[in-house]
Amino acid sequence: MEIVLISLLNGFVYGMLLFMLASGLTLIFSMMGVLNFAHAGIYMIGAYVAFEVSRMVGFWPALIIAPLVCAAIGAAIEVWGLRRTHHNGHIAELLFTFGLFFIIERGVQMIWGMLPVPYRVPTALDFPLFSLYGINFPAYRAFMLLIAGGMLLSIWLLLTRTRIGLIIQASLTHPNMVSSLGHNVPRVFTMVFAGGCFLAGLAGVIGGNYQVTEPSMAAALGPIVFVVVVFGGLGSLAGCFIASIIVGMIQTFAVVVDFSLSSMLGGVGDWIGTKNLLGEILAVPVSRIGPLLPYAMMVLMLLFRPRGLMGTRDT
């Protein structure tokens, strides 16, 4: 029982982290039709910048500086890169962000090396908040929830209470119409792109010391974020939120689940044995298969319901 409760909390935290990344991606994708491959790269930049800034001035300034740096980078990418490739088509834009991701990954590797950097939780927050069944729940995770929750609230307020928010909402589902209505869509695009990168950077700041900050972090988290976006569906932030929590929960719970498919199937598992691939797949405990699950989910979702959980348009 303890495990369930702890996993629930951890899964929620991880899910919120995913949401911070996926929300920016969904916004950008729904509005501009660009699947920003470099998004996870921005996340990584956020973590590394935060690391450097924390080393020099401290964690709290990093919390503000790193996301701003990422937003600036995002704006630069949009203005000098994406706008130029826009007239070459969606595929060109996608390939551009893909190439960008490549460069970011290698660049980070080059500058900081292949090994993880010691980006740690600030000592001010490094204490157990409470104890549940003898297992400590670190205060930092509560902090993460706080930041993520605050961010969620601000986005919600921005989108529903401000004029620009309404424009963005409209562009989520009817981008062409919004453009025809005469809004300065390029400027909105740049803002949304920079905003998405701000979120990714913020996620990097708080996620980088929660997980390990190393050059492969982008490649590890990137595909999962895509899974979330696809799962939640285009044009719906609510769907994105639900999908983030679901994927977060699944990945967290999978680690603690020890039984395997064949153990559930009883005798059939024994009969197939483990000498062949099918038997092996059935016999592997869910805890080991954890990394596979999100991809399986995404593939299944695309096969049976391409518009995701709550998407307003087909992917």
Partner: protein, 440 residues
């Protein structure tokens, strides 16, 4: 009511319908040159071939097949797949098992036909995954191929049956069964096998482009709806194209298995899928031979440049996005654009403009490379204890001077380059307009 009839427009239509042998003499020359190339590096004293050269050429062959097969999707069908390595790798894994079976006596096939079996494996997987993927629209297709790619790559690390887990699976290619009595103990023999299969596969894929399926794949790419109103189900076309591309990729994987005698999860992993995208796009997705150029270039860079610089992948990345932004038709596209000019004998007019371009271009390139290299030596290089040596002079990366020079070259060279590009464009437009005039 008449439209300007440009030579390139007419040439576009000629295709293979007109004298295929005469028009493509350069490819014959290249194939023969490649076949005899290893002998120029043969060490007559020790009686050994250059291992480096043979490895590189063998890798090139596999990558040529791989990227040509990828272009069946990207360039010909307009499909962007991020999981193409799956077919290459699964073809490789299957071949390892076929080789082991051959050695055990249960599969009495000569080694030369093993890539064919690999192709069949690739075809089977192509059919299975194609059934899942081909129904999707553009972005969903990219996502589902990515998902399948990640699934297979993760499975390859996880499972021991078939995949062999992290260590992979291995086999012995000397199965003592051959159509030509060759035992494939030396790399030159393997090289010729690869050369032969690369040629076969390339010709096969070329043939496909000139069949109804190939034509309709292009049609579906250009106009989904129109293809429907010609009686075709575009999804079925995509499915078939996908399956066939899987087959050819599988052949590449089979050659990989034969060459290295071991296949691990790298052969199905995301970096290899990414490689396919890079090679094909840089080479040029719109022209059949584009991926051949791309694969050759990237393999050269991989074999050569990686030895010279830690940052070579950054250069590849920058090359890639430069092409995406400025030259979406790739290298082949740029070459092809010159074809009508050359045919009209006007290349001379471009010589001086190109020279004028190349000087600031070189300066900008040097500046950029300089900055990247300085940065890399500042960080990684130091950790590795290496120092930057240029023309025999040691360069201290902590001094301001080298940085200033690099930045200066980059900025000034870049500004001058922009100027030259504009005047080049004027000359280019002039020449092409002239061509249009002459042909009317």
């Amino acid at each position: 009511m008449t439209a300007p009839v440009t030579p390139s427009a007419i040439a576009a239509g000629q295709g293979a319908d007109a004298q295929p042998v005469r028009r493509n003499w350069i490819w014959f020359v290249l194939v023969i040159a490649t076949a005899i190339l290893p002998w120029f590096f043969y060490d007559w004293n020790t009686g050994r071939h250059s291992g480096f050269l043979l490895t590189m050429l063998s890798q090139m062959g596999m990558m040529i097949i791989f990227s040509l097969s990828y272009n069946m999707l990207m360039g010909q069908a307009g499909l962007l797949s991020f999981g193409h390595a799956v077919f290459f790798g699964l073809g490789g894994y299957s071949t390892i098992h076929f080789l082991n079976a051959a050695e055990a006596g249960s599969l009495p096939l000569p080694l030369e036909l093993m890539p064919l079996m690999a192709g069949l494996a690739g075809l089977v997987f192509g059919i299975v995954f194609g059934y899942m993927a081909a129904k999707q629209r553009a972005t969903a297709f990219a996502m589902i191929t990515m998902g399948i790619g990640e699934l297979i790559a993760t499975a390859a690390i996880m499972f021991h049956n078939f995949f062999g887990g992290e260590g992979g699976v291995s086999a012995n290619r000397m199965i003592e069964r051959s159509l030509f009595g060759v035992d494939y103990s030396s790399s030159i023999e393997v090289f010729y096998l690869i050369l032969a299969w690369t040629l076969l596969a390339a010709l096969g894929m070329l043939f496909l482009t000139k069949t109804p399926l190939g034509a309709m794949a292009n049609a579906t790419r250009d106009n989904f709806e129109r293809a429907q109103f010609m009686g075709y189900d575009p999804r079925r076309i995509r499915f078939l194209q996908f399956a066939l591309s899987g087959m050819f990729a599988g052949i590449g994987g089979g050659l990989y298995a034969i060459t290295y005698e071991i296949v691990t999860f790298d052969a199905v992993a995301a970096p290899l899928s990414a490689n396919a995208v890079l090679m094909t796009y840089i080479g040029g997705a719109t022209i059949f031979y584009g991926p051949i150029l791309g694969a050759t270039l990237i393999t050269l860079l991989q074999s050569g440049l990686s030895l010279l610089s830690n940052a070579w992948l950054i250069y590849v990345g920058v090359l890639f996005i430069s092409m995406v932004t400025f030259a979406p038709a790739g290298l082949a596209g740029m070459i092809q654009a010159h074809a009508p000019v050359s045919r009209a004998g006007r290349m001379g007019r471009l010589v001086v403009p190109y020279i004028r371009l190349s000087i600031p271009g070189l300066a900008t390139l040097l500046g950029f490379v300089g900055l990247v290299e300085l940065a890399s030596f500042l960080t990684i290089g130091e950790a590795q204890g290496k120092t930057l040596v240029l023309f025999g002079n040691k360069i201290d990366v902590h001094e301001v001077m080298p940085w200033a020079v690099a930045v200066g070259l980059l900025v000034l060279g870049g500004a001058w380059l922009r100027f030259e590009v504009k005047s080049f464009a004027l000359v280019w437009d002039d020449v092409t307009a002239d061509l249009k005039q002459r042909s009317v």
